[in-house]
């Protein structure tokens, strides 16, 4: 396995989780997020949480009336994994007591799940659950493309990108309009964003037809920035003969034969790619179908592959931010969009690392802060917990999460202001 979890041993998880939930998990930010400013009644209270406990025991339909209750329960159960579900019509923990049929999922963030295993046919570096810094570029591309489209095309503003803890990323679109989207709306958005289609029985998974939609052009612009370095150099998709054949399988048959003759003897991948591009340019003038093959190749190798089923259902569960990945020990941390290109999954802290960091001796500065705390005995416990995560490498991720939440708060404050302004005008 290429990914080394040198500092993490899954056998220690049961010992680390209590510490994590007692001293490090950012409950107050977490509650602030899911409460959405208290704008809608019972929004937090009717939210489903689901816990995965030791030995894959799965407990669905958990719900909590306060932040405190959530905290207490998580500290009691010490879940290996936390999933977030929908906001229901009733409290999920009472779902058995309401008449069947009336317990319904009403709202949820619009979510996207991109998993590296879905790229197995176009990665040469790793397969299945493995990732490396080479193929991680695929996630970077995915974030750029989807983030742009969700903002510019769909007008969403509050997008939380989260590392899944192992081999992928999640996106939580938190705008009110996104949370209220119907199942049909969700699937329409997901399909608008899906370009790579077909399973094991389909070789050519991207087919473009004229005219090329502005969304596709914008996505291609992103791919073009990465393609040469990522695909041609790092993945070496035009290296070995089998690889070249795989690429050429995406080219229309007549062009393929021409290209094969021209490419004979040429070995440098960059040159080969240039030849394919030129061929496409030459063919562009002809009226024949399939003149976009160079674009189709780029998209098939680089375009984000969404798990559409996760996005479609209002009631679909998705792993929560700040949950631990039991296999890697890494925390599901939010990704700062400003730093997405330098985001390195291997640097994301593991639970063992941040727990260790807690045990480090305190610096002078921290000590003096602590003595101040003692003067204000009442909030001491609360403040200590706040300080605790700040002493670990989790701090910067929580800080980013805070700024994300601030952005949301500003927007609904603006909304409230506008509403009250409207009322002032007679």
């Amino acid at each position: 396995m290429r990914m080394s979890y040198s500092d993490y041993d899954p056998a220690c998880l049961p010992d680390l989780l209590p510490l994590y939930y007692r001293r490090l998990f950012p409950f107050s930010q977490y509650y602030r997020w899911l409460n959405y400013g208290g704008v809608q009644k019972n929004y937090f209270q009717n939210r489903e949480f689901s816990f995965t406990l030791k030995d894959d025991i799965y407990v669905r339909y958990q719900s909590f009336s306060t932040q405190n209750e959530l905290e207490k329960e998580m500290q009691k159960m010490n879940p290996y994994k936390i999933d977030i579900g929908a906001v229901y019509s009733h409290r999920p923990n009472q779902h058995n007591t309401v008449k069947s049929g009336s317990f319904q999922a009403l709202e949820k963030e619009l979510v996207f799940d991109i998993d590296m295993t879905d790229y197995d046919d176009v990665r040469t570096c790793c397969s299945a659950a493995d990732i490396c810094s080479k193929c991680w570029t695929l996630m970077t591309i995915a974030i750029h493309i989807l983030d742009r489209a969700l903002r510019d095309d769909f007008g969403f503003q509050h997008l939380l990108w989260v590392y899944s803890g192992r081999r992928g990323v999640h996106c939580w679109v938190c705008d009110e309009a996104a949370r209220k989207l119907s199942a049909a709306g969700r699937s329409a958005v997901a399909e608008y964003l899906s370009l790579v289609k077909g399973g094991e029985e389909t070789v050519k998974k991207v087919v473009l037809t004229d005219p090329i939609h502005p969304f596709i052009s914008a996505s291609l612009e992103v791919v073009e920035k990465y393609f040469l370095e990522y695909a041609v150099q790092d993945q070496d998709i035009l290296g070995r003969k089998e690889c070249v054949d795989k690429v050429l399988a995406l080219v229309p048959e007549d062009v393929r034969n021409e290209l094969q003759t021209k490419m004979k003897g040429v070995k440098q991948p960059e040159k080969l790619w240039k030849m394919i591009k030129n061929e496409a340019k030459n063919k562009q003038g002809t009226v024949k179908k399939g003149q976009h093959f160079e674009k189709e190749i780029m998209l098939q190798y680089c375009y984000p592959r969404l798990d559409v089923n996760v996005s479609k259902g209002v009631n679909h569960l998705l792993k929560s931010p700040f949950s631990v990945h039991p296999k890697t020990g890494r925390i599901s941390v939010p990704i700062d969009l400003k730093e997405v290109d330098s985001f390195d999954p291997f640097v994301v802290p593991t639970i063992s690392r941040i727990c260790e960091e807690l045990d480090r001796p305190r610096t002078e500065e921290e000590k003096s802060e602590e003595s101040q705390d003692k003067e204000n005995e009442k909030d001491a416990v609360e403040t200590r917990k706040m300080r605790d995560y700040k002493r670990t490498s989790l701090a910067k991720y929580v800080k980013y999460f805070d700024s994300f939440l601030d952005g949301m708060t500003r927007s609904w404050k603006g909304e409230l202001l506008r509403k009250s302004d409207d009322q002032m005008e007679f």
Binding site: A184, G185, V203
Partner: protein
């Protein structure tokens, strides 16, 4: 029966006003009393109508001139014209009766909505332009149009987003600025330009908006109806009829088994070559090769196996023995996969007895993606690969050409039926293929030399009939599935 008591406004008669319009969103339920006999006739006739809409949609390219022609004919034969207002009452009432029958499960709702939307689309497209506009205004579908300045700024993007618009006409064309939630079908297929949450819809695509609205209203209405259903079910005259009507939508559902355990696991390999439709053969092969199938594949194949009579115990043994040859050990299988299999057999979760997937479901829902082997090979394979596969299965070149023609015309079920005929040496099969399990039964029948060892796979049990009249209705319905 009376649907609902409401006070009518003095001086107006909303019903007759409603019937003045050629088309409606079915926003108001009918308020009159009708006889039980009329209730039944209307219901059965509407069902026939929707079955026809479904069949035509499968056999013809929707909205082609051929489709339109057929639709015209069929609607006339079924006495469902909508232009002269005399029959509009029947259209109205029968729609609401079927709502009662088709609101109960998600599958039923999906089918009903799909057919009603197709019917509506056909009718709306057929209206003259003036009436289309009137309809939009009556139903509060008013959107802002783009100013010339906006159009100029965006003309490139607008041009690139619409198949039907060419450069010259962008200026002349009206574009509506519509929240994207109201134009989902156009968004889904990227047939419209999107900016900041608004879709810019060219005037000729406005029909899609209307349909989207109709679909949303209908979907909400069905959910509401489902909630008030217990009251209707307490009516012993209606309950059995409604139940029977809802059983009718896909004909046989292949869930009730009498020959459970008659097939042994050892037989599956040979049966998969002889009697499985291509989709199941493909799944079986993938399972044997990879010792694994992803969720979509397990569902499609697992329920099919259940449908041919594999018992729960057999199924567990079958999947376990295959999975543990791959990356999954017995312990992981029992934890992660056995639940799903018991679930299929109604032994877990909400304990619903799941029915095997029909062709429509396989073709239309949950298309395969990376790593998946499920779906319909005629719908979801590259034509080249499909051709190779057929060659590998020793289908003659001329038959392959025929099959590929059908695939090209999007007649996937017909292509599969052709494949059946070729591989079973029958000239003209006497059934109309709509279900993988039906394929299996027909294949066993054909291979058994006319007599049918599996014939005791039965149609869903009929609900107890309460009157002679109902029994006749039932027979009528039975006939409907046969030719459906």
């Amino acid at each position: 029966m009376q649907f609902q008591r409401r006070h009518r406004k003095l001086g107006t008669n909303p019903q007759s006003e409603l019937y003045l319009q050629p088309l409606q969103f079915y926003g108001e339920p009918p308020l009159e009393n009708i006889s039980l006999a009329e209730f039944e006739t209307f219901a059965v006739e509407r069902l026939k109508l929707l079955k026809t809409v479904e069949n035509l949609g499968v056999s013809y390219v929707k909205h082609s001139s051929q489709y339109k022609l057929k639709m015209d004919n069929e609607l006339r034969l079924l006495h469902f014209p909508y232009r002269p207002d005399t029959k509009r009452r029947k259209d109205h009432i029968s729609h609401f009766i079927l709502r009662l029958a088709y609101c109960q499960t998600e599958d039923l709702r999906r089918w009903f909505i799909q057919q009603e939307v197709d019917l509506f689309r056909y009718r709306f497209t057929d209206l003259p332009p003036q009436q289309k506009l009137e309809f939009l205004h009556k139903n509060n579908l008013k959107y802002n149009t783009l100013s010339d300045k906006e159009k100029n700024e965006l003309s490139d993007k607008l041009l690139m987003s619409s198949y039907s618009v060419s450069g010259v006409t962008v200026e002349k064309l009206e574009f509506y600025k519509v929240p994207f939630q109201d134009a989902l079908d156009l968004v889904r297929s990227r047939k419209v330009y999107l900016k900041a949450g608004f879709a810019f819809v060219p005037q000729q695509d406005i029909v899609t908006i209307v349909l989207n609205d109709f679909r949303t209203r209908l979907s909400k209405a069905l959910a509401l109806t489902a909630r008030s259903l217990p009251a209707v079910h307490s009516d012993e005259r209606l309950h059995p009829l409604l139940n029977h009507l809802s059983h009718a939508y896909l004909g046989q559902d292949y869930s009730i088994q009498k020959n459970v355990g008659k097939i042994s696991l050892e037989q599956i390999d040979s049966l998969s070559g002889k009697s499985f439709p291509l989709c199941m053969r493909q799944l079986h092969q993938a399972l044997r090769e990879n010792h694994h199938l992803r969720h979509g594949g397990r569902m499609q194949y697992g329920l099919f196996l259940k449908g041919i009579g594999i018992s729960l115990e057999q199924a567990l043994q079958f999947w376990r023995s295959e999975f543990i040859r791959g990356k999954v050990d017995a312990d992981k299988f029992d934890k992660a996969y056995a639940y799903g299999i018991r679930h299929m057999y109604g032994k877990e979760g909400k304990r619903a007895d799941y029915t095997p997937y029909s062709c429509m479901k396989v073709i239309l829902s949950n298309p395969p993606s990376q790593g998946d082997h499920h779906g319909c090979p005629f719908r979801h394979s590259d034509p080249e690969l499909l051709k190779q596969k057929l060659q590998f299965y020793k289908v003659s070149p001329s038959s392959i050409t025929q099959i590929m023609e059908l695939v090209k015309g999007m007649h996937f079920q017909l292509a599969c039926q052709k494949y059946f005929e070729v591989t079973h040496n029958v000239e003209d099969s006497s059934f109309s293929l709509s279900h993988p399990n039906q394929y299996f039964i027909e294949s066993q029948k054909a291979l058994g030399g006319g007599k049918d060892p599996k014939r005791d796979v039965d149609v869903p049990q009929k609900v107890q009939e309460t009157s002679q009249h109902l029994a006749e209705t039932a027979e009528d319905l039975e006939a409907l599935f046969k030719d459906g």
